[in-house]
């Protein structure tokens, strides 16, 4: 038997002890035993608990393949997308602790209310602004232009909120727009077709904006899509500071 097959079998034996947050802002942990299975994900574990042990457990998911961004939770202290996190990678000695994401109100158990997170995308002008009159022709954007490269680096965000849950500045300053919204704003700052740049740069400045980021890099450490919001935010700091330097406001 190959080493990989042996490992897979060992993985398939035994039980996991899973502590799950129950309640909302106030609540406690409930412990479940779940069989280990080969290639099991954290989302598989949660689903097994909900289907076979306690149908009242609330959590959220949709795609199961890392596209929709709805399944994030805090797993053994780290924010993660649970559908793409293998148990084997996240467990610690057969123990798994599952909590709802930080920095968002808990609706129930593992489901949080992400409304504030999405509102901040809007507040950061994280949407394309075509301008008053539509362009007459297609914009030509060279794939190797620096702007396109900057936008590409951040464009694959799936809105999962993992970075937002990981960011201490959001905890300290609840108005802070947060890494995901600022990352999106930066992709649009680099969109040469966009006509709303001044308003966007205003929106990402100020006490809620990019200048409050401490460059901790928690967002970049935990983003499951391996994006780097910290660098996007550094880009916004650069562009907004240059704008002040040039026109003095």
């Amino acid at each position: 038997m190959s080493a990989a097959a042996t490992a897979a079998r060992a993985d398939a034996d035994g039980q996991l002890t899973v502590r799950v947050w129950r309640g909302a802002e106030h609540g406690g942990f409930q412990t479940f035993q779940v069989a280990r299975r080969a290639n099991q994900t954290i989302l598989d574990v949660v689903t097994e608990i909900q289907r076979e042990q306690d149908a009242t457990l609330a959590y959220r998911y949709a795609c199961r393949v890392g596209m929709c961004g709805s399944c994030a939770m805090v797993v053994n202290g780290r924010p993660r997308w649970t559908c793409r996190t293998r148990v084997a990678r996240a467990e610690e000695g057969g123990q798994i602790t599952l909590e709802p994401m930080r920095n968002m109100p808990v609706v129930k158990d593992l489901a949080v209310d992400m409304e504030s997170f999405f509102e901040k995308w809007r507040d950061a002008k994280g949407f394309f602004e075509p301008g008053e009159t539509p362009a007459n022709d297609f914009a030509v954007v060279r794939p190797d232009s620096p702007e396109r490269a900057q936008a590409d680096a951040g464009v694959e965000c799936i809105n999962c909120g993992v970075c937002y849950s990981a960011c201490d500045v959001v905890s300290w300053n609840p108005e802070y727009l947060g890494p995901a919204a600022l990352n999106r704003a930066w992709t649009l700052v680099n969109d040469v077709r966009d006509r709303g740049q001044d308003a966007r740069l205003d929106a990402v400045s100020g006490d809620a904006g990019c200048h409050s980021c401490h460059s901790h890099m928690s967002c970049t450490e935990f983003c499951p899509k391996a994006l780097a919001p910290t660098y996007a935010i550094a880009g916004l700091k650069r562009v907004t500071a240059r704008r002040v330097w040039k026109r003095g406001s």
Binding site: N173, S205, K237, V244, S249
Partner: protein, 109 residues
């Protein structure tokens, strides 16, 4: 923090990196060289270069420190708004006044 405060903090940080280095190196040099307080005052009194250097240093510190303090207070206390900004202007004024007074005293001694 607004983009303007951010820029002010970054620019003064550059000034301070230079000024603090010169300041510390000079102190160590003077002490190691065995200069007395009298020797030092003899060199600083009426020295316009000395005064100009410390005026720049003090002003940079008076701009830089309150901006950082404001961020710390906003994150660790519920203090926000106009009263905080005015208090930070006060801190800037105190740092500037104390620093400039000290620099002038050593210049005019």
């Amino acid at each position: 923090m607004s983009a303007r405060l951010y820029l002010a903090q970054r620019l003064t940080a550059m000034v301070l990196a230079f000024a603090v280095t010169v300041h510390l190196v000079t102190i160590v040099y003077a002490v190691r060289g065995g200069l007395t307080a009298g020797d030092i005052l003899a060199r600083t009194t009426g020295n316009v270069g000395f005064l100009a250097f410390y005026v720049v240093f003090v002003i940079a510190a008076a701009i830089h420190a309150p901006i950082g303090l404001r961020s710390v207070l906003r994150e660790w206390t519920p203090w926000r708004g106009r009263s905080l900004d005015l208090a930070m202007l006060g801190v800037a004024a105190v740092i500037a006044a104390l620093g400039l007074r000290a620099a002038y005293a050593v210049y005019a001694a």
